[in-house]
Subunit: 269 residues, 2 copies
Amino acid sequence: MRIAVVAPSCPLKPEAAEAVRALADARGDCELAIHPQCFLSAGHFAGPDEARLAALREVMADPAVDAVWFARGGYGSNRIAEAARSDLPDAARSKTYLGYSDAGFLLAGLHQAGLEAVWGPMPQDMVREGGEVAVARALDWLVRHDPAALEPALEGPAMAFNLTVLSNLLGTSLEPDFSDVDLLIEEVYEHLYRIDRSMFHVAASPAIRKVRQIRLGRVTDVLPNDPDFGGDAADIVEQWCTRSGIAFGGRADIGHDAANKVVPFGRTA
Amino acid sequence: MRIAVVAPSCPLKPEAAEAVRALADARGDCELAIHPQCFLSAGHFAGPDEARLAALREVMADPAVDAVWFARGGYGSNRIAEAARSDLPDAARSKTYLGYSDAGFLLAGLHQAGLEAVWGPMPQDMVREGGEVAVARALDWLVRHDPAALEPALEGPAMAFNLTVLSNLLGTSLEPDFSDVDLLIEEVYEHLYRIDRSMFHVAASPAIRKVRQIRLGRVTDVLPNDPDFGGDAADIVEQWCTRSGIAFGGRADIGHDAANKVVPFGRTA
């Protein structure tokens, strides 16, 4: 299996690239093609919009590529997501697209366009503590659809998003159809008051109110709230679900950590 | 003129309350009724949702109150805004509602319900450097509609919002009709990558694309972007306007500072 790595958001760390290449080589069941665009740098981004878009469209159009693996999150995939899924070449339709965090903008848009979008660990996770396990999990899914890679409580069509990314794609052309979907959310590096505000926004959306249920993944590196917010992230999410008539389905095994599991969009178990 | 002060978001600092009361007393043209709810505290908020809502609804329903002045921003008015403008008593319709920042959730919802919503300085601004001038400006508008208090380039119907607040009210029941409005935005205490993401979200909204133009107020206390973002807030706003077919009308004289001017919602100059 040939897996192309591109960076639609921020640059991939060279040490992460080397480590993930070594991991793939040792497995012997997949060939990684790490696009040189991954190491470009232009301000916040892994190269200008044009370069990130060109690399993504190049690998999408390549019939020899079986999967497109987003190198990392950060911020920036939203700036090219609309253009990435316009005038789709045929070869783009027979691939899997894997990533999470900021890559959620792309997953949403690609899924909405009928492509196979999957939430899961990314190459940059190699430099996370215990990250080798996370990256191996992603490859286990891409290469042989290993059921052990999946979020363990998936029961029907599902999607997974970082909460802030989800909030920022609502109402845009990237917004997918959430009807009857189990919506898994997680968050990292936010204050609780911001999580509350994002949940207000998300739970107020008529599109979101069509979900079957919301489940909450891990909320990590929460920034200190001054004063103490009064409640934790799970309280916040459950409260907004209740206020908005959305079923809260408990916790989910996703997050910005090495235990982050795979969630294929729209998959029926 | 009787002006009621309530705190739908975070608690008012007692020293700000004392100073604004002294300022009003010295003017002799208005009477401030600072509701005791302003000093409640419950986690992040100026009392629980129920208490903040009850105080707001109490002053809205009071025929002796000519204006409702939101004590300060922070976060939390969104949690009570929908309930605040339901079953409106008649007395609520003959008042002015003044505030900015987080109070934008209320301004949006109240304006949408046909009430007189105005962006402008708040009592807590007294503890800001030079804040006495800002607070006097708000009172000059409330008491005698002093044209010197107005944002100087208002040409027609306008609205003003903090960018993050605006992003988080889109698609909710609070969203007002932006058609042919001059939309003034400002931001404080955000990273440039977050400003870019919020502008992506806002500029993608079909509701926002109905504005006559967007003008940018001050963007202050910008948090350090790592790496350097590549461009400033004005570049970002202008770029998203261009990409989205929204006219960019240049700068606006609003912001989280003592120079912050008054913008009556929907006012035709």
